[in-house]
Amino acid sequence: MARLLEFEAKDLLRKTGIPVPPGGVAVTPEEAVAAAEKIGFPVVLKAQVPVGKRGKAGGILFAENSGEVLTRARELFGKNIYGYGVSQILVERKLDIAQEHYLAILSNPATKTPTLIFSRHGGMDVEEHTGGEGIATYNIDLLQGLRPYMAMDMLKGAGISGRALPALTQIAVKLFDIYRKNDCLLVEINPVAMTPKGPLAADARISVDDDALFRHPELGLDEGGEVGDRPRTQIEKIAALIDAHDHRGSAHFVQIDPDGALAKAEGKISIGFDGVGTGVSLAAMDELVPLGFLPRNFCDTSGNPTASKMYRITKVILAQPDIEGYVFISCLSSQQLDNTARGIVKAFLEIYPDRMPNIPCVFCFRGAWDETAIAMFEQHGLTRSPFIRVLGRDATERDVALAFRELHTGWRAQRTAGAQA
């Protein structure tokens, strides 16, 4: 999910007419001082990183004067917050907040609608503080959109009245406008700060659907942004480029154990992995893990990807440092497995011109054109390697895992013998 930084999100809010605190972005401590002096003290300095709970990680600091801004900004620029180095700081006027609310629109997988969410209690740890209590929701019909009366009804039901009611209603409607226009998965203001001058978006989070990014070059987001709450690894960014502008089938690649630390801690062996379909990937992992192998990555190459896509993603999987093997498995797939195999074969022939992989590799093709796919490995001399095994539609996930263990045991034995000789 591609996520805008806070200042970028606020920029969208401002342009849509949602009030945000006065502020400026700084890339050096001196710029932070200049921004603060322009806004007026006291100020808040906020590290611009695409993760939540920055405050808890020391990413939000306050300053009363220029000297403090300089010290705090220097502190922030040196910080790493949940894997993200701080290279930009948002300097904002510290607000006089009477009350904090929570307001968001998110793509709700349960209702398959955008859902407007409001809580009277906003701020840090909103979920924990409310325990889900006092949270009002309204599922929005995409065809109707969010009309002011709908938002107003919901807010009234949540206990909002007086001048706050029309002000928050307007914000909710504009939030929906942002959500629709930018193909968002989440547009969140937390907190909506209730100040003497009216409500302001004190913090904002906007996440855009990865598959719609190509429609929004103006947002300057790329698919290689983040994985969950950590930045994408270099290799994940390279993998994301493969799918970025080519939607013929998928090559969804995520590193489960980017640096192999988990495998080491669990006493497992790190391997590269590719599955045609998520279900089969999970089933195969369920068989591999008890045998002592931990896939360093998850990869789903389904939806009939082009052979060129398979070629590129195979190179990415094999580039992962220190893996001790590679497993490819398809589900009983309707995708053209000969195309799939061609991409893999091209990658292997390029990487291993002698047709002798340096690590054990098991391939399992089950489904459409599986026999053609399997034959291709033989035609191109890849099955001559003692460390390649190609299985067909009779093989189960367990067979694949056992075949891999057998190859890996032989490979290890050969390496040990080689080292002793």
């Binding site: 390279i238 052979a307 060129s308 590129r312 440092p321 195309n339 091209k346 291993y352 035609q379």
Partner: protein, 110 residues
């Protein structure tokens, strides 16, 4: 026959045929491979060498489905007239910089 026949593909990359080599090829396996059912059929034989039977623009828009059948067929049955280039400059950089990061890519490990 000399020169090249070349076209770009949708995902970024190009296919290039060395026509002097292709003229000597007896199988024209690339053209055969491209013309099997379920594949895209964008290659034909013209003047005894592979020829694109759609426009360059159509090929790049996806008429060439990047199935790689032509290239792999040439490897087994042709005489090496085709170059199917699918660049990944970021991957090349990753591999080139691995040593400096103290890493060994999986396919290069000893």
């Amino acid at each position: 026959m000399s020169g090249v026949m070349s076209f770009e593909v949708f995902s970024g990359g190009s296919v290039t045929f060395d026509l002097a080599t292709c003229a000597k090829c007896e199988t024209k396996a690339c053209v055969v491979a491209c013309n099997v059912p379920n594949l895209a059929c964008v290659l034909e034989l013209k003047d005894n060498v592979p020829h694109l039977k759609v426009t360059q623009e159509e090929a790049k828009r996806g008429a060439c489905i990047e199935c790689l059948a032509c290239e792999l067929a040439c490897m087994t049955d042709g005489i090496g007239g085709i170059t199917f280039s699918l660049p990944m400059p970021e991957w090349d950089e990753l591999i080139a910089g691995a040593a400096a990061r103290g890493e060994t890519p999986g396919f290069q490990r000893s």
